[in-house]
Symmetry: C2
Subunit: 320 residues, 2 copies
C-alpha cells in the first residue's frame, strides 16, 4: 500500500500523514511507503514505514510524471491555491487548481492499475442562484475562481472514474476550524483565527458580524473522513463521486459561546470586530444551509458541538 499526499506539507496533509503513521495501514493493507509531495519541502512524518518528502510543482507535468515514476495505490490530492489567493491571483489559481489537478489525474491515469484518488473539493462550488439548502443535487454555481476550479476538479474526477482511469472520490470540505498554524490567504482564515489566537493569548479580528452563519468541521473529524473516503467501495458513490461532507452550521456568536464554555471569558475578550469588505464579499457568497444526506448515508461524520472543535485544537495542536 503506497500512498501519495499532494499538499503533504499543508496542515491537512501533515495531520493525515500523522494519522496514517499511527494506523500503519489503509484499505486493510499495511502501508509500505508514504510520499508527501509539496511545493515546499514537507516535514517527513515519523513512521514505521519510509516517508519521502519530494518538492514538486504540480503545475509542471514533467515533475508530476517523475513523482508518479512508481505506481500508487491511494492518492490524496490536497494541493491547492486557497480561495483568497485564487481570487487575487487568477492565473496562479488556474495553474495549480485546474492544470495541476489535470496533471495529477493524467499521471494517475497513466499508472498500470487505476489508483484510488481522494480529492479535496470545497463547499465553495455552491453559490449564485441556487436555492437553499444546497445539497447533493444542487447545481454547481460557484461565485469565486477557487470554487470554479474545485467544481471543474469534481467533474474531471467523475469522468476519469467513469472511464475507469482512476477510482475517484471528492469530498466537499466545510470550513475546517480550528485550523492550527498561522492565518493564511483563505477568505475563511478568520474562522480559525478567532479561536486559535485568543486561546494562545493573542488578539484576532472577526471581519464579519456575530450573526454570520457558516458551516464547520474540525480537522480531527476531517482526517477521519479522509480515511473513510479512501476505504469505501467506489461503487458506493454511485454516479457522482463528489459528496458534501457533514458539518455544523453555526453563527459566530455560537462559535464564541463554545470558546467561552471550554476556555472561559478571557480568550473571548481578545476577539475584535473590524469589518473587512473584501473578505465579507467573498464569504457572504458561501452557503451555510447545507444538506449532506449522501455523505451521511455513506458513513461520513460531523462534530457533535463546536466545543469539541475547540477541545480537539487544545488536545491535538497545543498539548502535542
Amino acid at each position: 500500500m503506497k500512498v501519495l499526499i499532494t499538499g503533504g506539507g499543508g496542515f491537512i496533509g501533515q495531520k493525515l500523514a500523522y494519522k496514517l503513521a499511527e494506523r500503519g495501514e489503509l484499505r486493510g493493507q499495511p502501508i509500505s511507503e508514504l510520499v508527501l509531495a509539496d511545493v515546499h519541502h514537507a516535514t517527513p512524518t515519523v513512521a514505521s514505514f519510509p516517508v519521502a518528502a519530494p518538492v514538486v510543482d504540480i503545475t509542471n507535468r514533467q515533475q508530476v510524471d517523475a513523482l508518479f515514476a512508481d505506481d500508487y495505490d491511494v492518492v490524496y490530492h490536497l494541493a491547492a491555491v486557497v480561495s483568497g489567493q485564487a481570487e487575487a491571483e487568477f492565473d496562479l489559481g488556474m495553474a495549480v487548481n485546474l492544470h495541476g489537478t489535470l496533471n495529477i489525474l493524467e499521471a494517475a491515469r497513466a499508472q498500470k492499475d487505476a489508483p484510488v484518488v481522494v480529492f479535496a473539493s470545497s463547499l465553495a462550488v455552491f453559490g449564485g442562484e441556487i436555492a437553499d439548502p444546497v445539497g447533493d443535487h444542487s447545481a454547481l454555481n460557484p461565485q469565486t475562481s477557487y470554487g470554479t476550479q474545485k467544481a471543474i476538479g469534481e467533474l474531471l474526477l467523475n469522468d476519469f472514474s467513469r472511464k475507469g482511469f482512476i477510482d475517484g472520490r471528492a469530498l466537499r470540505l466545510p470550513t475546517i476550524s480550528v485550523r492550527p498554524g498561522k492565518p493564511n490567504a483563505a477568505a475563511s482564515s478568520f474562522m480559525s483565527s478567532i479561536v486559535r489566537e485568543p486561546l494562545q493569548g493573542q488578539t484576532a479580528n472577526c471581519p464579519v458580524t456575530e450573526d454570520f452563519g457558516h458551516y464547520y468541521l474540525s480537522p480531527r473529524r476531517l482526517i477521519e473522513n479522509l480515511l473513510i473516503a479512501a476505504e469505501l467501495d467506489g461503487a458506493a458513490f454511485g454516479q457522482n463521486r463528489a459528496v458534501t461532507l457533514p458539518g455544523l452550521t453555526l453563527s459566530i456568536r455560537e462559535v464564541i459561546e463554545a470558546i467561552r464554555k471550554v476556555a472561559g471569558e478571557e480568550p473571548v475578550g481578545r476577539i475584535t470586530f473590524e469589518p473587512d469588505e473584501t473578505i465579507r464579499k467573498i464569504v457572504l457568497g458561501w452557503r451555510w444551509d447545507v444538506n449532506s444526506d449522501k455523505a451521511q448515508r455513506l458513513g461520513f461524520k460531523r462534530d457533535q458541538t463546536f466545543e469539541d472543535n475547540v477541545r480537539y485544537f487544545l488536545e491535538d495542536d497545543i498539548a502535542r
Copy 2:
C-alpha cells in the same frame, strides 16, 4: 461589429453566417467583418461585408492568439468534438473541448475590450443521479466525456464573465434536428438521419425503440436563439450565464408521425429499426424531461410542433 465563429465550417456555423449576412447587423451595429475559423477551410458566406475563413486548430494556443490578432466584438464558440467521438477518443475530446475552449477564453480575455462570447453547451451536462425534470438549478452530473467538457466550459465561461474578462453566455443545446448534411459521430446523429435520409429517398436506421423520448430544437430556431444570446444584456443572465434552451420533448413515434403529416407514408417506410447497444447506452443517459424556465423568461424560443422542423429542413436545406 467584428464577429468570430469557431466551428465556422460546421452546419450551425454556416447557417449562422448565412443569417448574419442576411441581417448585416448584430447588437444594433452593422457587421464590418465576419471570421469563420475552422479546423478545415470553411466555405466563406456571400455577404456585403468581408468574410474570412482561416484554418485554425483551437488546441494550438499560438494559432488561437494569431486568430485574435484583432479584437472581436462577438465570439461564437461553436467548435467541438461531438459526443460519440469525444467518448471514443478521450484525448482528442479533452484537447478540443477543454483546452481549445480555454485557449479561446484566454485569447478573448487578452483583448482590450471584453467581447461577448456565446458558447454552445449541451443538454449532455445533465445526467446521472439528478432527478427529473432537469432545469436551471439541477446539478451538472454528465455521464459522457463530452458532457463533462461542456460542463467545464460553462463553469469557465461563468468565472471569466464574473471576473469581467469576457461577457459570456452559454446555451445548452437540445438535439438539433433536422440537421442537414451527412451522419456524423454524434450519438444523436440518427435523430436527424431518420428524417433527412428518408425525405431524400434513402433509408436510415433508428438504433432505439419508438418510445425513446428526446428533446429537440430545429436549426432555424437555434440560429434565432444564437442571435438572441448575443443581443441580450449580459446582466439579464444573472449569476449563471448558462441556460437550457427551450425544446420539444417527443418520442420517435411522434417524430415519425410528423414526417408522415408533412411528407406522407413513403419516407416513413424507409426507416429501419436495428438496435445499436453503444449508441443506446449513451443516449439513454440523456434527459428529455427538461425545464427551460429561465431561457423562456429571457426570450429564447422553441418550435411549435416537429412538423415545423420537417418543413424547415425542406425549405432551408432542400429547396435552397
